[in-house]
């Protein structure tokens, strides 16, 4: 692991595809940057997500681009993902990704983090869980909360689209009350699970509920969450990325839907523990934020 694996063998430089050469020369690896990585570099630099096979206009794809652009140290980051729409994107990322079974992503991430701490005691390795709401809150709720109880130093990011989207539209725990889907015709009977509050109660040092409507805000939250997870303990980001197909919107309407929900179900919620706040202050002084 580390940036060494992205060095092209000089003998073969002229037969490598352009995208790979750009990945080596023009991606924002943290060692090449004299300031924290961020979304500002997205237009000029090579992205870590080459292409993806999600639907046109999917807010989840946009959110993943923001997340990847904001990782503090991508070359030393392992991403653990789970079954869902998101698992279609992860094979395309130029980073280490592990696809876990449906729901046990936080358990897998815990193991990876512990082994990395033992194997590379001198290097800071970040483990980030990226999964959908079905994996995080329904099927994997036990593993997610248990990792918070154990104070595992991992960041959990939930792409909350409020539905099981790639299996045809079944309701999930995160679906809003009364919502009707193709395979939930009578409407949901109970309220949306307030996972961000559960995370706070379960011991997360940083828990935030937001939509992906503002790229800068997403990038800032991701950076803060990962830095806190390095030193203090578990962090959680609940990110609304609506499934435009399942709620009947066109490709260009995802952003509008997220902006609407900024004032409704995803009105800002942010919890930072006092020690995490003090640590963030220190990070700011050191120029890490």
């Amino acid at each position: 692991m580390g940036l060494d694996i992205y060095k092209i063998n000089p003998e073969f430089k002229d037969i490598m595809p352009r995208e790979i050469i750009e990945l080596e020369e023009n991606a924002t690896w943290s060692t090449k940057m004299n300031k924290p990585r961020g979304i500002k570099e997205l237009p000029e630099t090579k992205e870590l997500l080459e292409e993806h096979s999600l639907c046109a206009g999917c807010p989840e794809a946009a959110a993943l681009r923001y997340v990847l652009s904001a990782l503090p140290k991508p070359e030393d980051t392992v991403i653990v993902n789970s079954t869902g729409c998101t698992s279609l994107m992860f094979p395309h990322i130029a980073l280490h990704t592990v696809h876990s079974l449906f729901g046990n992503q936080n358990a897998v991430a815990s193991g990876i983090k512990r082994v990395l701490e033992w194997r590379f005691p001198d290097t800071q390795k970040d483990v980030v869980v990226l999964a959908g709401d079905g994996a995080t809150v329904d099927i994997g709720l036990d593993y997610t909360l248990q990792s918070f109880f154990r104070q595992e130093k991992i960041t959990t990011i939930c792409f909350d689209n409020e539905v099981y989207a790639n299996t045809g539209g079944q309701e999930s725990g995160m679906t809003a009350k009364g919502q009707v889907f193709k395979m939930a015709p009578t409407g949901k009977k109970f309220d949306k699970v307030p996972m961000w509050e559960l995370a706070t109660t379960s011991g997360c040092h940083y828990s935030i509920n937001m939509t992906a409507s503002a790229p800068k805000a997403v990038a800032k939250a991701v950076r803060e969450a990962i830095l806190i997870a390095r030193e203090i303990g578990p962090t959680y980001i609940n990110l609304y990325t609506p499934c435009i197909l399942e709620i009947g919107l066109s490709a260009n309407e995802g952003l509008g839907e997220m902006k609407d929900q900024d004032k409704d179900r995803f009105a800002s919620y942010k919890h930072i523990s006092p020690e995490a706040e003090a640590y963030l202050k220190k990070c700011k002084e050191e120029g890490l934020l």
């Binding site: 060095k7 073969f12 037969i15 080459e50 046109a56």
Partner: protein, 237 residues
């Protein structure tokens, strides 16, 4: 010699070579059409295939393309020498195993999840796999045998591959040099005249100039970028 494993197309989901009774060659030997033979015999047949079949191509994998270990440079230099001795040989890299969806640039790279696309598009009839991790090499070689008529040669640093027509095991830079000498011998025997020439550079597609793009460039998909709220698209397939 009974040819257990031959060029395809063997059809969708062909029986795997191990289940057809093909075993990996012991140390010092090689596999040729699923039979255990001497290394030289396998190399001679592979060399003849590379010299006589259309569009011979080398597919180097991540283990030789990336500068991650000390001995990689030697192997890479040897591969380039070998490529320069095969007439009209091309090198198409397999830099990583990420699936290239929705569209792969088949002139620029090959991908283990759909290697047949690159082989069919470039009309490759003989190919060498080198430096591809074994599990992905097995996947690719079986897929190629299933869907194409390409003669596959596996140059493996470990135990070799049953699915390839010719498989050399325990590969070092010196083994590649030996293979190169055999290619030159066979070339002279066949009377092919060839001056060593390095393969052409990678013909990657030019980057899209987004400023110059118009909706018509998106062809049948233009409706995806043009729809507005309330708009009704009448022209559909």
């Amino acid at each position: 010699m009974l040819k257990k494993i031959t060029e395809g197309p063997a059809g969708y989901m062909p029986q795997s070579a191990p289940s057809m009774g093909v075993e990996l060659a012991p140390e010092g030997q090689a596999l040729l059409y699923g039979n255990i033979v001497s290394e030289e015999e396998a190399m001679r047949d592979a060399a003849r295939a590379l010299l006589t079949r259309d569009n011979p191509t080398i597919f180097p994998g991540p283990q030789v393309l990336w500068d991650w270990k000390d001995d990689v440079a030697d192997k890479a230099a040897a591969i380039l020498e070998l490529a320069s001795e095969i007439p009209n040989c091309k090198i198409i890299p397999m830099p990583d195993y990420r699936p290239k969806y929705p569209k792969i640039d088949v002139k620029a790279e090959i991908n283990p999840n759909h290697p047949n696309l690159t082989i069919l598009d470039n009309r490759i009839k003989a190919s060498i796999f080198v430096g591809v991790h074994c599990h992905y090499a097995n996947l690719s070689l079986r897929m190629i045998r299933a869907g194409t008529d390409c003669y596959t040669i596996a140059l493996c640093a470990y135990m070799g591959h049953e699915e390839a027509m010719a498989s050399i095991r325990d590969l070092h830079a010196s083994t590649i040099h030996k293979f190169k000498e055999i290619v030159i011998e066979e070339r002279n025997k066949l009377g092919i005249e060839w001056e060593p020439t390095l393969p052409p550079e990678n013909p990657s597609l030019q980057k899209e100039d987004h400023a110059a793009l118009s909706p018509s460039d998106y062809g049948e998909y233009r409706s995806l970028i043009m729809t507005r709220k309330g708009e009704h698209v009448t022209e559909v397939e």
